[in-house]
Amino acid sequence: MIKQQNQMHATIKERPVSTLDQKPARAEGRKDPWSQMLEKVGKSQDREAYHALFQHFGPQIKYYAMANGLSSHAEELVQEVFVSIWRRSCLYDWRKAAASTWIFTIARNQRIDMLRKMRRLSAEMPVETEDLWQIPGDNEDEPVTSLHRLMSERRIRESLSLLPEEQTTVIAKVYMENKSHQMVANELNIPLGTVKSRVRLALNKLKVILQDQNV
């Protein structure tokens, strides 16, 4: 574990933040531009930064809604997500999540919430969407974990392009079309075991699997 931490520190030092448009100040080295903008929205209700976020993430969220069967409500979902981003931005902490990861979880929660409302389940359910799906522990400091979080997104982006298409296809169906592993197996007409092994191979390569102790 300690060895791994050292490696991560080393990685940060030697790898310049090459994907950024702007040259970040030294102290801001680990912040990507979207996270900086989201922080500005949270700290000073900066509407220019908010607009930039909208232009970047709005189309992504619209596609996300369309891909998982909410075509006729796609723009409605984008609106809900952005209103939620505005309201919650004061809770955003760049050390704990990249803006894109933070926004993805809001999009996911709002999608679940919208489907729930369509099925008129919210009124009958004592627990809210966030009670089930929001990761707890907003206020705790887990420095090593934070570092993991920041590194992971960059690493995932880099290694995803190296995965065979059959693996990325399965992952895309799970995340974008919201299909269970079983549904993906049915659709691709392959055994469930094959779907699972493709996901495992991919997660291994993305180093998402830390320790699968039960397997």
Partner: protein, 213 residues
């Protein structure tokens, strides 16, 4: 410290938002107590973000940003959300409305009590059951006809696979015959989501099986 965690595939289904609500509740309760799995889910959320970023581009209607701004302007100023971080009632308390031990438990054979809470999840087909095994008590040997996801909410139990402590997570299926025994000290309370009813393997008749109606 929990020893038994959900596997990465289940966490991925959680991160993608694809689990049923009872299953999501089990994961959420585990995440509440397990920083190891929280960081795994964080990484999976990042995977979701990168997948979302790499999809085809679509255009968003030009007037939408203005509608968003007018919605924001018509709402009261951003409230202080810091209260959201503290003193939140946990999902289980919200769901049950009372303390675990104060529930209207239904006594079964011997040391086991159960409470079916499936009706708290309208629109879900799974059976959601709380089970309580009195401290030191034994459950009957049984197998599982479908898949059973269980999280320990209080106390601990052991079976031939090991000891399952509070917040441990375990999935059992057809192959797993087990005979759980609650550890001494505290009643063991678990939350289980069953995709199909359990089947007794002993000599008892089906009428004694709490899960067959």
């Amino acid at each position: 410290m929990t020893q038994h965690h959900p596997d990465s595939l289940t966490l991925m289904e959680f991160s993608a938002g694809n689990l049923t609500e009872p299953h999501a509740l089990c994961i959420r309760l585990h995440l509440d107590q397990c920083s190891h799995c929280r960081s795994r889910v964080d990484m999976l959320d990042s995977l979701g973000a990168v997948m979302m970023e790499q999809q085809p581009q679509v255009t968003v209607s030009g007037s939408m940003f203005d509608s968003i701004l007018s919605r924001i302007d018509s709402e009261p100023a951003v409230q202080d959300l810091s209260g959201m971080r503290k003193n939140r009632v946990g999902p289980l308390e919200k769901l049950l409305g009372t303390d675990l031990n104060a529930l209207p438990w239904k006594r079964q054979l011997g040391d086991l009590s159960v409470l079916d809470i499936s009706d708290r999840f309208p629109g879900q087909s799974e059976q959601v059951v709380l089970q309580k095994l009195t401290a030191g008590g034994k459950a009957l040997a049984h197998t599982h006809r479908g898949e059973e996801t269980t999280i320990v909410l209080q106390g601990a139990f052991s079976d031939k696979k090991g000891v399952f402590n509070q917040w441990d997570f375990v999935v059992l299926n057809q192959q797993d015959e087990h005979k759980p025994v609650a550890l001494e000290g505290d009643d063991c309370i678990t939350l289980s989501v069953l995709s199909a009813p359990v089947r007794l393997t002993g000599t008892f008749t089906r009428m004694l099986n709490p899960f067959i109606r």
